[in-house]
Amino acid sequence: MSTATITAPPKAPAPQTKPVSEEGRIGLRGNLRHIGALARRNTLQIKADPESMFDVLLMPIIFILLFTYVFGGAIAGKGNQGDYVNYLVPGMMAMMGMNISMAVGTGVNDDFKKGVMDRFRSMPIARSSVLIAKIVVEIGRMMVATSILLIMGFILGMSIQTSVLGLLAAVGLSLVFGASLMWIFILLGLTMKTAQAVQGMAMLVMMPLQFGSSIFAPPTSMPGWLQSFTDYNPLSNLADAARGLMMGGPVAHSVFLTLGWAVAITVLTAPLAIRKFRDKT
């Protein structure tokens, strides 16, 4: 191709760079303000699209009814569904955390399809604040789901055997673990091409983890190889820990394992997710 230049492009030397200073740094207060503004955005999105709360509002109700009345009799003996509720609710707290944190992955994937992410990324904010705001709102959603689950549990005859403190500790532990799972789903959301793919992949991971665990039934009746899986399945650890905290029994081992899992997952996936988020174009 011939190049016809009307006036030669100026070849002036580039002006000297301004000194690299601290003026671009974002302080803690600034970061908190940005996370607040973005969390407000995510909350307003829920307001604009109330259907996105269906998982949080309906899942605990439907699942607890299903498991209590479909499996409860078989596991605990006919007429003993009430005992099974005491076993099931702490386990379901572990399950809910995983199911709800999945939404964060599809949300992140969706955001990248829209131009709004370009705007955030061209603005003077820490790029992690977009992700942290999502996690903050998602933890709020988990708290709503957990409350509904507990209310349903009480209606179906659950009784806390320890104390309110034990209950709060169990809720807190499941939130901490759920928050760590979100980094995995964020990573998935940033890696997969479509929100549907994220969901499909997440289901594939979730089903064996949830059912190959002590969430729904004590693993004592499972074959040995499966028992060794459930023993180290973080969802079992969390379910056992929550059960101990709410219903009594040994907790130290399972609480320690759950916290270990949460820390390990966060340390491994959060930096990867943030880097992926930063480099994604």
């Binding site: 016809a4 671009g24 705007r119």
Partner: protein, 342 residues
């Protein structure tokens, strides 16, 4: 307000790009682009789809890293000072970069808070910009219910919240109807009148002529022409004057009359009867008046006249001798006829 002043010296360059290269696999999206944008001006980057316009804007807004080359914007090095740079730039992309689930007001307020405005200041600025972009009535409605033009206006408003010293507009009117397009143009002119430097990418010669003083034409990642809009137009042949005679049989006579008159500056121009129209390439309004006057003086009747700007195709043809690579579908509608009242 965290606005950082532009480079204080007058007539300095707000944007300086040198040897910018960006590959996507085998494709060279940018192949050694140099670009200078003077402060306080609108600089047009004209090129067909896939020429590298959007890649250039994305590099300059710190969204992607180039493979090589340097860029200074508002005194900051794009590659080493992205955080500082993000405080002084605004970006309006080809696709609306607002949150569609949020209302117009919520979008602007959120961006104000992200730019570290106080709550009060963010509220004030949101109200003010909605008013200015005629969106007050729709302020509380979700952006997804907005028409294309309203969305683009909201997008521009969002880019103006931080009062950026350099504004990137990436094909701001692609896909808009002519009326909405004019609204967007008016807003861009206002922004420039207020002192912003604008880097505008476009596929439309008419848009470049309306808004830009200087123009850089790029194709396949390379700069193929650089200069003032008028200089480029002179090179390409300016506008084409289309005349419809009252009596079609007089077409040839009219063409001969114009060519024989030897009007100043029209030497060598061809008046060719085509589809019952007389096409006369002109470079200035004076020539338009002269041609019409000449035909009137000779007693030819005219029922309709109009002018149209050279299309991107014609620009490329004049500069490179070939049509732009993928112009086939997208650029056909480029020549937007302008009715002229005489």
């Amino acid at each position: 307000m965290t606005r950082i002043d532009k480079n204080p010296s007058n007539g300095a360059n707000a944007v300086e790009v040198r040897g910018m290269v960006k590959h996507y696999g085998e494709t060279k999206a940018l192949d050694g682009v140099d670009l200078d944008v003077r402060e306080g001006t609108v600089h047009g980057v004209l090129g067909p789809n896939g020429a590298g316009k959007t890649t250039l804007v994305r590099v300059l807004s710190t969204l992607i890293q180039p493979d090589s080359g340097t860029a200074m914007v508002a005194g900051y090095n794009v590659l080493t000072q992205p955080r500082q740079l993000r405080r002084v730039i605004g970006l309006t992309g080809q696709y609306a970069s607002v949150d569609e689930k949020l209302s117009g007001w919520e979008n602007l307020y959120m961006i104000g808070r992200l730019l570290d405005l106080s709550r009060k200041e963010a509220r004030r600025r949101s109200d003010e910009l909605l008013e200015r972009f005629s969106l007050t009535e729709a302020a509380k409605k979700a952006a997804m219910t907005y028409s294309g033009g309203m969305r683009r206006r909201l997008d521009l408003a969002a880019s103006m919240i931080g009062q950026p010293s350099v504004l990137y507009l990436d094909e701001p009117t692609t896909g808009l109807d002519p009326r909405t397009r004019n609204e967007v143009w008016d807003e861009v002119k206002r922004m420039v009148a207020e002192g912003a430097t604008v880097l505008l990418t476009t596929q439309y010669m008419e848009e470049a002529e309306q808004l830009a003083g200087e123009l850089t034409v790029i194709d396949k990642g390379k700069v193929i022409a650089n200069g003032g809009v008028n200089a480029l137009k002179a090179k390409v042949g300016g506008r084409t004057l289309q005349i419809q005679p009252s009596d079609p049989s007089q077409l040839t006579a009219m063409a001969i009359a114009i060519n024989d008159a030897g009007l100043d500056g029209l030497a060598g121009s061809q008046a060719v009867p085509d589809d019952g129209l007389l096409n006369v390439p002109i470079l200035s309004d004076e020539q338009l008046t002269a041609v019409v006057g000449l035909l009137g003086a000779r007693g030819f009747g005219i029922t309709n006249i109009g002018t149209h700007l050279p299309s991107l195709d014609e620009v490329f043809l004049a500069i490179t001798g070939e049509k732009p690579a993928d112009a086939a579908e997208d650029i056909v509608s480029d020549a937007i006829p302008q009715e002229v009242s005489v």
